[in-house]
Symmetry: C2
Subunit: 394 residues, 2 copies
């Protein structure tokens, strides 16, 4: 039989990059290409104890169907935590538990966008989110990134010209892939622009809690007097990605539609995962845990930046980070980035060419993304030494 596929899906083919990433898991390859939390950041003993408690105390609840909007106790706890700690969420908002924050991108697209609509994105931006938008048949309009977030003139141009723009997508803290954090001034200006043009904001904040230097910048959602912002949060970087627990805090009418969409996708998020996340926040010292994992990432980021200074400067430049999992590294003009990354993986170091994060993968890009959270310290050192040699030869 000849198979034909939907338009949104037929176009989803980041081929050159898939070819490179295929070799990422080959034996002996040091992967700087992943986005996994450091394994030592998992509170495995706490999770084991909590899981045993759940299976002893309420096995039927853990194994039975549950409600789409999420485990009530987790929703209540998260709502309170986000309001008290981050000023996120008002009486006009509601909270839905999702199967990872990735599902928030998908649900928002399903709820707000018809094929041919437009999503305004930071360029570059996280490929997983871009693909969620693309799968909905949406066109992406890219806004260039500056040191302190989106170029606001370019954003306003996009809002003026893109009549079918449905929302602005931003990762304001330690952005994936650039590591950039948007300034408070720009957050306010972005919110004002979105309000003026009547376009919603999807604020994706998986890395905000992993700040190991500097001061927190308030969430855009904390400024949301007008019900314009859908906030996406996640337990993936602060507890465990394998459990697949994320959430959205959104204006109640929007949240109601996210719930309707979620019901058609997976009915509800794994209830055992939700109960684990809930009890972890309630029974363990969550702040102490965050302090512990921030130390892990402070160490790894510092080590990696030091190695970059030692092995790859001055030819390779990078954006210094204060949190998150990624470094954005730039090579001199004229270097063919996919070809460089191909050479790197042949030399046993896997990188993601920056092109993967562009609106159009075929556009040129002088940068690649490095992840420092997954490899061991020794792998960071070995990998950067190899990269340094390849860069010296350029």
């Amino acid at each position: 039989m000849d198979y034909t596929f939907s338009k949104g899906v037929a176009d989803l083919a980041p081929s050159a990059i898939r070819e490179i990433l295929k070799f990422t898991s080959a034996p002996g390859v040091i992967s700087f290409a992943a986005g996994n939390p450091a394994p030592e950041a998992f509170p495995a003993e706490d999770v084991a104890r909590i899981t045993a408690d759940i299976m002893r105390e309420c096995p039927v609840e853990a194994l039975q169907y549950s409600i789409t909007e999420g485990h009530p106790s987790l929703r209540e706890g998260l709502t309170r935590y986000m309001k008290e700690k981050h000023g996120v969420g008002r009486n006009t908002d509601a909270l839905i538990i999702t199967s990872g924050a990735q599902q928030v991108m998908n649900l928002t697209t399903a709820a707000l966008c018809d094929p041919g609509d437009v999503v305004i994105c930071e360029c570059p931006s996280f490929i997983g989110s871009l693909n969620a938008f693309r799968a909905g048949g949406v066109r992406l309009a890219g806004v260039p990134m500056e040191e302190d977030g989106m170029n606001l003139n370019a954003l306003e141009d996009a809002l003026k010209t893109e009549k079918r723009a449905r929302f602005i997508y931003t990762i304001p803290n330690f952005q994936n892939p650039t590591g950039i954090t948007m300034s408070l001034e720009k957050r306010k200006a972005l919110y004002a622009l979105a309000k003026r043009y009547g376009v919603m904001i999807l604020e994706d904040n998986p890395y905000g809690e992993i700040r190991f230097e500097g001061e927190d910048v308030p969430a855009i959602k904390s400024l949301d007097e007008d019900g314009m912002v859908i906030y996406a949060g996640s337990f993936s970087k602060v507890l465990s990605p394998g459990l697949r627990v994320g959430y959205a805090i959104a204006p109640a009418p929007v949240c109601a539609k996210l719930i309707v969409c979620k019901q058609t996708q997976d009915v509800h998020t794994t209830i055992l995962s939700q109960m684990i996340a809930d009890r972890f926040m309630r029974e363990c010292d969550f702040e102490a845990h965050l302090r512990r994992i921030r130390e892990i990432y402070r160490h790894k980021a510092g080590l990696m930046m030091g190695l970059m200074d030692r092995f790859a400067a001055p030819k390779m430049t990078y954006h210094r980070v204060q949190g998150g999992l990624f470094l954005w590294c730039t090579l001199p003009a004229g270097v063919d980035m996919p070809a460089f990354c191909q050479t790197a993986v042949q030399n046993k170091v896997a990188l993601v060419p920056g092109n993967a994060f562009l609106m159009e993968e075929s556009d040129p890009c002088q940068s690649f993304r490095v992840n420092y959270s997954t490899p061991t310290d020794q792998q960071l050192e070995q990998g950067m030494e190899i990269l340094g040699e390849l860069i010296a030869k350029l």
Copy 2:
């Protein structure tokens, strides 16, 4: 802010029924409206032991990101099980683990359908699947059900006239809501028709393993010489729905697209859930477990049908079942079904009016759906006594 939603989602509003179902969880209400497995069917002690083993032996694997297509060991075990036990799956097929079988409906729609395309469905059919199709902007073409499955003349008419038909959706075993099992003859004829018109089949089989009487009928997928069938399976009814583990077995090029779509939805299914399902199949006596839960459902179905004969005959008729979780009950012509179900819930018995399962909820329907797996034996008896009184008054 005024919110506008996508076309597919704006239309998803089964309002009258939602209003009835709201009262389902009110105190004192006996719910025949759910679709939950019997709590006593959960192998809670096995799951507790397996979960403890996993968290002791391989916590990092259980908590870390995993691959979209699913936990390799579970994929391998399921592929073998389905081939050996049910003749489902060939060398040209591939298997993807999903977040419940519900996700298969969503992924299939995302992969195959553009808005305005058509899905041919049994009428009535499972509302969760119908809504997954609707959310994709798809139009539903209903084919009336007979005692042995779809009316094949009506199916052929639909295939002739619906030029944008993308797949035929069927629940061949103990269909939700009717309890009907499609005969082998009709399965073969349906497959031949689909082949002749070049339209794929989505075979949804959540209840097949819960046959407590009669002989298994081969899956349509087992006839699939031509790569026309996407088979959806689930652990929800045979292990636990809260874990959210389902799967699809589909021609490899189609499965590749399901994987791409899943990556944009939730990256992967909760890895701990997958590992629990995998070890349960490998370490426990799965066949003995199935025999045990079939006994539970045989008892409950038998009890419920007896109560119906005692309290509601002859005014109410129903389709006798050999498996599954549901009974489809019909009242005399002229009874307003939503109004009857409203009265029932006011009298503390929740039912789902059959209208919920039609292509158009506003169409008339003389039936309601009863679930016998969730209530206790005592609740079955109390509820049917109340229903009997209401029916006597009609």
